[in-house]
Symmetry: C2
Subunit: 321 residues, 2 copies
C-alpha cells in the first residue's frame, strides 16, 4: 500500500482538506467553514477534526500533513507569524506544536501562494528543472516562484510575494502599507468594484441583467460575460486590469525569464481577455530579448493547486531535506 499524505488549505472563509498519494491523485477531500472569529485554537482544533474525518472515511492515516496559510509563517518551526486578514492576526501561533500531537504525524507549513506554486510545479504545468512564476489573482494577489525546478522561498519563506510589486509609485495605498501594488489594480475586489461602479452609472446594462442588479454577485467572471454580451465599458475595465497584470508579468519576465507563467484565481476566470492582454503587454514591454518562449497559461489544477501543493509539501518533508 502506498504512503498517504494529508493537505490543508486554510482560507479566510473555508478550510479545504484532502488525502492523496505521492502520485497527486486525491483519494478523499472535504471543505469546512473556517469560523475564524473563534480564534486560532478553535480553528486548529477544527483542522485536526477535518484530518481525522478524512482518515476515517477511508480507514487510513496520513504520514505527514502539508498546510498552506494565507500569510507569513516561520517554516522551520511550524509557527504562524502573521495572517493579515484573521482575527488577532495569529501572531506566533504554534500550529505544528498544537496540531502534530492531535493528528499523530509531522506538520509542515507554507504560505498558500507558494503552496499553490509547489502544487502546479509538482503535479500541474511544471516540468522537471523548469523556472516558473505563479500569480494567484484572487481577493489578494499572491504567488510564488520556482527556479530550475525548485520552489524559491528566501530566508523567511516570503520570496514570491509578486502581488506586491510596485506598479504605480504614487498609486492607491495597499493593505500591505505600500502604494500602487499590483494588488490594488488587479485583485478580484479591485476589478469587481469597477463593475459595480459602471452598473451604478448605468454603463453596464448587460452586467446589471446578469447579476439581476445585485452588486454582491459581481465577479470577474460575470464581468467577462457582460463584456462578451456587449458592455464595452466593462470590457475596457477588464483590459485595464489585465494590462496591470501584464506589467507585473513583464517585470517577472525581465527579471527571472521563466519558462512558464501561470495565472490562477478568480481573476483568471476572465479568460482570453486576460490572457491575450497579458501576452500582448509582455511583447510590448520586454524589449531586451524576445520573450516568445515564455508560456503564459492558466493552471492545470485550478482550485486544487493549493491542496496538491500541500501533498507535495508533506512528501518533501517541508522542503527542508
Amino acid at each position: 500500500m502506498t504512503t498517504l499524505y494529508a493537505s490543508i488549505d486554510l482560507g479566510g472563509t473555508k478550510i479545504a482538506g484532502a488525502l492523496a498519494g505521492s502520485d497527486g491523485q486525491i483519494v478523499v477531500e472535504k471543505t469546512v467553514p473556517t469560523q475564524s472569529l473563534q480564534g486560532p485554537e478553535a480553528v486548529v482544533k477544527r483542522i485536526a477534526e477535518l484530518v481525522h474525518d478524512l482518515a476515517r472515511q477511508i480507514g487510513r492515516s496520513p504520514a505527514a500533513l502539508g498546510m498552506g496559510v494565507p500569510g507569513w509563517a516561520d517554516l522551520p518551526n511550524g509557527v504562524v507569524k502573521f495572517l493579515p486578514n484573521f482575527i488577532t492576526q495569529w501572531r506566533d501561533v504554534p500550529v505544528r506544536e498544537w496540531l502534530s500531537p492531535e493528528i499523530h504525524c509531522p506538520v509542515y507549513l507554507l504560505n498558500d501562494g507558494r503552496m499553490a506554486t509547489l502544487g502546479e510545479l509538482t503535479f500541474g504545468r511544471g516540468k522537471p528543472g523548469c523556472t516558473m512564476a505563479l500569480f494567484t489573482l484572487g481577493t489578494g494577489i499572491g504567488g510564488g516562484i520556482a527556479v530550475d525546478g525548485r520552489l524559491h522561498l528566501g530566508p523567511l519563506g516570503s520570496a514570491g510575494e509578486i502581488g506586491h510589486q510596485t506598479i504605480l509609485p504614487d498609486g492607491p495605498r495597499c493593505g500591505c502599507g505600500n502604494r500602487g501594488c499590483l494588488e490594488v489594480f488587479a485583485s478580484g475586489p479591485a476589478i469587481t468594484s469597477k463593475g459595480v461602479w459602471l452598473m451604478q452609472c448605468g454603463r453596464a446594462p448587460h452586467l446589471s441583467e446578469i447579476v439581476q442588479g445585485d452588486h454582491a454577485r459581481v465577479t470577474p467572471k460575470e464581468m467577462a460575460q457582460a463584456a462578451e454580451a456587449g458592455d464595452e465599458a466593462v470590457r475596457e475595465e477588464l483590459i485595464r486590469a489585465a494590462e496591470y497584470v501584464g506589467i507585473g508579468v513583464s517585470n517577472m519576465v525581465i527579471t527571472l525569464h521563466p519558462d512558464l507563467v501561470v495565472l490562477t484565481g478568480s481573476v483568471a476566470q476572465i479568460g482570453p481577455t486576460l490572457f491575450d492582454t497579458v501576452r500582448r503587454v509582455v511583447k510590448e514591454r520586454v524589449g531586451m530579448f524576445p520573450p516568445d518562449n515564455v508560456q503564459i497559461v492558466d493552471s492545470a489544477l485550478g482550485v486544487r493547486a493549493g491542496l496538491l501543493g500541500g501533498i507535495a509539501l508533506a512528501m518533501s518533508q517541508g522542503l527542508m531535506s
Copy 2:
C-alpha cells in the same frame, strides 16, 4: 604552477583585459580603445592582440577566456546576437569561432551585467549559497541575479535585465522600446541631465563651480559633491533618482528576497545619498515581511567586478558544466 585564465570586458569605448589565477588575483591587466566604428572583425582582432599582449608580458598563456559583452549573446554557441550600442549591432557575430583559434583556448561569452554579478558572487560580496541581485547603474542599467549561489541566466542568458523593469507605466520611452523603465530615471545620463538642467537654470551654483561650467564634466559623483556643498536642488534630484532605484530594489526584494543587493557603476558613486535612500524606500515599500535581513551595499570589487567575473566564467567553462 596554477592555471591562468583570461578575461575580457568589452565596452563601447574601451576593452579591458586581464589574466588571473583561480584565486581571483589579477596578475596583469590592460585597457585598449574599442574603436567599434571599425566593425566587429577589427574589434575581435584587437581583443586577440590584447590577450596575446597580456600573455607575452608574463610569459604564460591562459587556459580559457571569459568575455563580457554589452548586450545579448547565444551562450552555448559563443555567438553575439545583439549589441544595441555598437555599429551594425553585431547581429550573429561568431566571436568564439573567430577568437578561439587566434588565442588557442576556449572562449565563453556572457552579458556584461551578468558577468559582473558572477564576479561579485565569486570573488566579492557573495557568500556560498547566497541569493543576490546586482544592479550596474551606469550609462545603461544592467545587472544579474544569483539564486542559492548560482548565477541565474534563463534560456537566453537574459534573466536579470533589472534595469528594464517598468517603474512608471506611462513614463518616457526607453532605448529598449518599453516605457518608464528604471533606466530612464536612474541611469548616469538620466541623472546628469538633471544636473545640467539645474546649472542652466542657475539653480546649481556649486555644481557649476565644481565642473567650471562645463556640462560634459557633470557626473553623478560631481553632483553628490555639489549637493554636499549646498546645492539643495541637486540633492533633491539625486534623491528622486535614488527613490526610483529604491522601487526597483523593492520589487526585487518582494520577488526574490535576496540576502544581498549590490549597487555598482557610476551612479553608485553618489554614495550615502543613494544607499540611504534606497534602504529607506525598501523599508517603506516592502510591507509583506520585514526586509531587515537584506543587505544593500556597494561592490567589493568596484570596476573590476566584470573582469573578475570573466575569470570565474573561464574557470567554470562557461557555466555550462
